[in-house]
Each structure stands twice: as C-alpha cells, then as structure tokens.
C-alpha cells in the first residue's frame, strides 16, 4: 500500500543522494492487455516511481503518441476496474510506488470514494488529473487524502507566481512541473529559461519537483536533474513500445 508520503520520501531520498529520480509513464493496456502486468513489474524495476496512464476517449491535453496509445488501449477494452485488478495481481512484485494519470471523467464514473479506496489497496500513492484545475479539485482531493493519497498538482511556465504558491500548497507527493511543448534540453537558451522556472518553483515549496518534457536521452535526464528531483519519461517510452523495441533497455540507458 502506497501513500503520498511514501512517494514524497522516495523522491526526497533521491534529492539527498543527489540522484535524479526516473519516472516512466505508460498507458495501461497498451500495446496489449496481457502484457500490462508484466510490463509494469519490469518498468518498476528501473523507475523510481511509475506513472500509469488511464486511457480516455478525449485526451485533450496529450500529444499524438499518448493519444494513439490511449485510443488503442480503449479498443483493447481497458477500463479502470481492470487496471486496478491487474495491478493487484502483481502488486507484491512491484519495486516502485505508483501514481496514476487520468482525466477526470473516468474517475467520476468510478466514484471518488471507491476510487480512493481501491487505489490505496493496489498501491497507488497519488493522482495526476490533467483536466482538473485547483479550483475544481476539492472534492477529489479530500476523497484521496482521506485515504492518505494525494492529488499531484501541475505547474506550467505560464503559471503566475501567486498561483504557484497555491498549487504547491495543495499538492501532495510531488509537484509536476509541466514544460511547454517544443522546449528541449538540448537548446541552451531554453534550458536557461527552464532552470529559472524550476528554481522558481523550488523556492516556493519543500515538495520534490518532477519535470517532464520529451525526455529522450540520458543527456535530457541530466539537464533536468540539475534543477529538479525527478524526470518523467512519457512519449519516448510509449514510442519505444510502439516500435516494439527493448523499452526496458531504453529506460536503463537514461540513467
């Protein structure tokens, strides 16, 4: 059983050790249903935390790769209940705590109370809900926190400073620092901007900060690691799965 506290402390350990936490993201039930549980186990051996994506029919904030994977997963027949059940079958083999990324509507349909209880049971420590801004989030946050789980808030470069403070205060586990599309670690000028942005958040909170923005290489992870505790690897991992490559090897090479 995971909790937001556990997530936070794992990341803080990374920080103390001056290592960069690796947070792989992939879509549940993609590419096939029957490989989900074993993939999850294997990925948990490489990642410090694993982020599981719940597919949704209207992924309004996702890029093409994740959209495609969600679409396929839904065709495969994935739903939230199935995801929880699958995780449960392998929860004793998992070597990293889990967080879950989902749009709001599938969570609403599950019911917030049932969701929190079941998530706790299978070892999920927190939720990232990309279409749930702070203003609308009380109900879900309270339900999660009742079970010791947390709602992980996102911050973006466009977020005004005053709002950053509110978001930091509301977040549990870590802060998810979104970077804008098109920013890549290889561009010096932008990475300066990025540094400033991540440092600005660091100054506002004790919570660990994880950032993800098309991390594709060990170099990218290194650059992020200079200003954040963790690096989230999403599209690149899903693309590797799409191409049927050795995605575990890919993840390992990111260290």
């Amino acid at each position: 059983m995971a909790s937001s506290k556990q997530i936070e402390s794992i990341l803080k350990k990374n920080k103390r050790n001056n290592t960069t936490a690796l947070i792989p993201f992939f879509t549940a039930g993609y590419p096939q249903l029957n490989s989900f549980a074993s993939n999850l186990v294997n990925i948990s051996k490489v990642g410090d935390i694993v982020e599981i994506g719940v597919p949704f029919s209207d992924p309004m904030a996702d890029g093409m790769t994740i959209q495609r994977s969600s679409h396929q997963a839904l065709i495969n027949g994935v739903n939230l209940k199935w995801i929880f059940d699958q995780i449960e079958t392998v929860s004793h083999q998992l070597q990293a705590p889990l967080v879950m990324m989902s749009y709001l509507n599938p969570l609403l349909a599950f019911g917030f109370k049932a969701l929190s209880q079941r998530a706790k049971e299978v070892g999920i420590g927190g939720f990232i809900v990309p279409d749930l801004p702070l203003e609308e989030s009380d109900e879900l946050r309270i339900a999660l926190e009742n079970e010791g789980l947390g709602l992980i808030q996102l911050i973006t470069p466009a977020t005004p400073a005053s709002r950053m403070i509110d978001l930091c205060a509301a977040s549990k586990g870590f802060i998810y620092a979104v970077t804008m599309t098109g920013i890549t670690g290889s561009d010096k000028g932008l990475s300066l901007k990025l540094a400033k942005y991540l440092n600005q958040i660091s100054n506002l909170t004790e919570l660990p900060i994880c950032a993800g923005f098309g991390v594709r290489s060990a170099k990218d992870v290194e650059i992020i690691g200079q200003h954040a505790v963790g690096a989230i690897v999403g599209s690149a991992l899903v693309e590797a799965m799409e191409r049927e490559e050795d995605f575990i090897g890919f993840l390992k090479r990111l260290r």
């Binding site: 949704f56 029919s57 209207d58 992924p59 309004m60 904030a61 996702d62 890029g63 093409m64 959209q67 679409h71 839904l74 739903n79 939230l80 209940k81 749009y103 709001l104 509507n105 599938p106 969570l107 609403l108 349909a109 599950f110 990309p130 279409d131 749930l132 801004p133 203003e135 609308e136 808030q153 996102l154 911050i155 973006t156 466009a158 977020t159 005004p160 709002r163 978001l167 979104v178 804008m180 599309t181 098109g182």
Partner: protein, 411 residues
C-alpha cells in the same frame, strides 16, 4: 438522465435563472458547468474571463458588435410566417430566419462577437473547431473581417460530408486542419483545438462554436446568441400579435437554442422544446441525443450531460447532420432540463430528412439538416396542439448539406 431535484429545488433554481444568477462565480449553472481545463490554459482562461467581464459590459464594445451585426451580418434576420406549412400542420407556424444571416447560420453572431473580443484582447492567431463547417466558415469570415489569421480544426469525417464548406473556409483565407483522431468529428476537432491552444496560450484565441466548453464560453456564446431571441420576441409580438405557445430549436452544443430561448425563459406559458439528433434510434452510439439519453459527466471542460459508457468513456455519436453529431451539450441546457423549464426531445435522421423536404416544398426554404430536426419535432407537437402558435428557430441554410441530401434523394 437529468439530475433529480425536488419541486422546491427546481423552483429555487428557476428563480435564480430568472434573476440572472447563472453562471455563478465558479462558472456554474446550478450544478452544471465549471471549468475543467489543463493548468497550461488557466492563465489564458483568467485573461479571457476578465476580458469577457470587461467588454461585455462595455457599451462601446457592444455597440461595435451590434454594428457588425446590423451592417455586416444583416441583422435583424427576418421572421417568416409559414403559410403553407401552417395550413398543412393545422397550426400557426413562424420561423426565425437565421439562415439569412451572413455565411448562412446563427453561428456568425457568436463568431463575429468573439473575433472582435479576440482583437481587443490582443490575440495574434485565431483557432476554431467546426462540425458542419458552419462555425468554421463563420469564424473564417469573422477573422477576415477583423483582420486576424484563422485556423480551423475539422474532423476528417466531417470534411468529407461538408466539402463545400471546407472550400469556403479556404477561400476566406483560413487554414483548415483535418483531425484524424478519435471519432474524426466535432468532438475530436474540439480536443484538437484545445491541444493546439495549449501550445501557445498567450497569443492564440480559441473561438468556440457552441455554448459548450469551460466557463466563460457557455456564457459568452449565450450572450452573443441571445440576439436571436431578443429580435424574435419583438418580431413575433408585432407580426403575430402575441407570444408563441411553443418554441422549437435544434440542439447540438445548444447555441442557437439557448440564444432563441433565453428571452423567453421568463414566459412560463411558453413551452420551450430543444430537439436533439435521434440518429438511427435510441441506443447508445446510434444518436446524439445527449440530454434525452445521456448522464452527467465532464467533457471538454464542463460538467454537463454527456453520452458515455459506465466507465466514463465518451461515446461516439451518430447523426446525419454533422452539426448535431456531438456527445456533449451546453451546461445551461443541462440545468434547464433538470429544472423542467425546457423539454428536450429528439428526431431521427429519417424524420429530419422528411421534414427538410416538406419545408422546402411548402415554403421554398432549404433549411440545414441540423435545423430540420426542430421541424420534425414541431410537426408532431402541432398535430397534438391544433390551432396553436409555434415558433421554430431556423438556425441555418441547407446549401452545405447538398452532398448528403443528393445522396439521399438518389436513394
């Protein structure tokens, strides 16, 4: 199914509607509405909300918009007494002629309003989504008129069935992007527009095409469309000598319906009927009858009635009319349904096609396939209410539907 309110709760909510209390500070119409958006867009929506408050209360802005409506859009649009239809139906049938508005539908009222607002807010690029292509054409035209570049997202399926509108948008200088994700219709186009907006929230202004989406869009679109009902109320009182007994409008996202209904909400004696796309029939996936057969949920930024399965996955819809082929509906309609002020019915593809043909031949008005749904429902109502006066929102013209209609004519 609509949320279950007691009669007292309904009365209280209705009173709040009449007192103009909705949307409230959270952008809610009773329990519906709100703003469910990516954090990236939060600042953009804050700016938008401030802009909306400022300019919608600025007499100079309103005047500039009203001026465009009169001089460029061609408002007020006519109110037509449908003599032969009245005779055939045994009722008194009046039509509010949004088909005569520039570009051919009510969509332009909103598009020019938002384009003017975008200009005021300093936008550099306009984006819009479109289903039937009417909002896309309206946005392209409005952007040309105010001098802003326009990009329109349109589902690949819709691009096929509304080909003439695609060429019109391009001719008007807009860029048309085919959306090949999801169901490749209106819903996918909105998703894509939102995603695109996220890439540059500061310079992009998103002109949404119906009274849907995150607050303040449902409010903003309603305000721009309410000109329909304001005009219609005056016209029917003058031309027919009194209020209608019932008013019909088709409902996709619900913008023409809310625009027409809004001025009549306080007239308890006037029945208001929204008509959704009944498609092939009542089963999930066979229609787009969101209010009639949907359940509450969050879609594209608002808590409203949607067509979804038990897992909260939004379902694909079917309608012969691209503009009604949408799994959600404006949150204000969800409220008006819950409190029983407006009835929502549906008409099937076949009923709509028949109604379109009947209107054509009786009045020489080729209406849009979307609009035809309202006629189908109105016809039924008339047969149960002989001699009564009814008003139908003729939301757009059917030129854009010729490909579909010709296919159906041939069998």
């Amino acid at each position: 199914m609509a949320l279950d309110f007691s009669e007292t709760e309904k009365e209280i909510l209705y009173q709040s509607v009449l007192d103009n209390k909705f949307p409230d500070d959270m952008g809610r119409f009773g329990p519906f509405g709100g703003r469910y958006i990516p954090e990236t867009l939060v600042p953009a929506f804050s700016r938008l909300e401030i802009g909306v408050k400022k300019y919608l209360n600025d007499p100079q802005f309103i005047e500039s918009w009203q001026n465009e409506l009169n001089e460029w859009v061609g408002r007020p649009t006519a109110m037509t007494y449908a003599k032969q239809l009245s005779h055939a139906w045994g009722a008194e049938v009046w039509l509010k002629r949004e088909d005569l508005a520039h570009t051919g539908a009510h969509k332009i009222n909103n598009a020019i309003g938002q384009a003017l607002l975008a200009k005021k807010l300093g936008a550099k690029q306009i984006i819009a989504e479109t289903g039937a292509g009417q909002h896309g054409v309206a946005s392209a035209a409005a952007c040309a008129r105010v001098g802003l570049p326009c990009r329109v997202y349109m589902g690949a399926v819709d691009i096929k069935r509304q080909a003439p509108n695609v060429d019109r948008m391009r001719q008007l200088g807009a860029e048309v992007c085919a959306v090949k994700t999801g169901d490749q219709t209106l819903r996918a186009a909105i998703d894509e527009a939102m995603r695109n907006w996220v890439s540059d929230p500061a310079d992009i202004y998103y002109i949404i095409g119906s009274a849907v989406g995150p607050h303040p869009y449902p409010f903003l679109v309603r305000e721009f469309q309410s000109v329909i009902g304001r005009e219609a109320r005056k016209q029917i009182v003058t031309q027919a000598g009194g209020l209608p007994n019932a008013i019909f409008a088709c409902v996709g996202g619900g913008s023409n319906a809310i625009g027409l209904f809004h001025s009549f909400l306080g007239d308890r004696e006037v029945e208001l009927i929204g008509v959704e796309a009944g498609g092939h029939g009542p089963d999930l996936g066979q229609n787009a009858a969101t209010l009639a057969t949907g359940t509450p949920g969050v879609l594209q930024g608002a808590y409203t009635m949607i067509l979804q399965n038990h897992d909260g996955q939004v379902q694909e819809t079917h309608s012969v009319s691209a503009g009604l082929d949408y799994s959600g509906v404006g949150p204000e309609h969800a409220l008006l349904q819950s409190i029983g002020r407006v009835d929502y019915e549906s008409a099937t593809d076949t009923e709509a096609l028949l109604a379109l043909s009947e209107l054509c031949k009786a009045e020489g008005i080729l209406t849009a396939l979307e609009t035809a749904h309202a006629f189908a429902a109105a016809k039924k109502w008339a047969s149960n209410n002989p001699g009564k006066r009814l008003l139908i929102g003729n939301s757009g013209r059917g030129d854009k539907d010729m490909i579909t209609l010709s296919a159906h004519m041939k069998g």
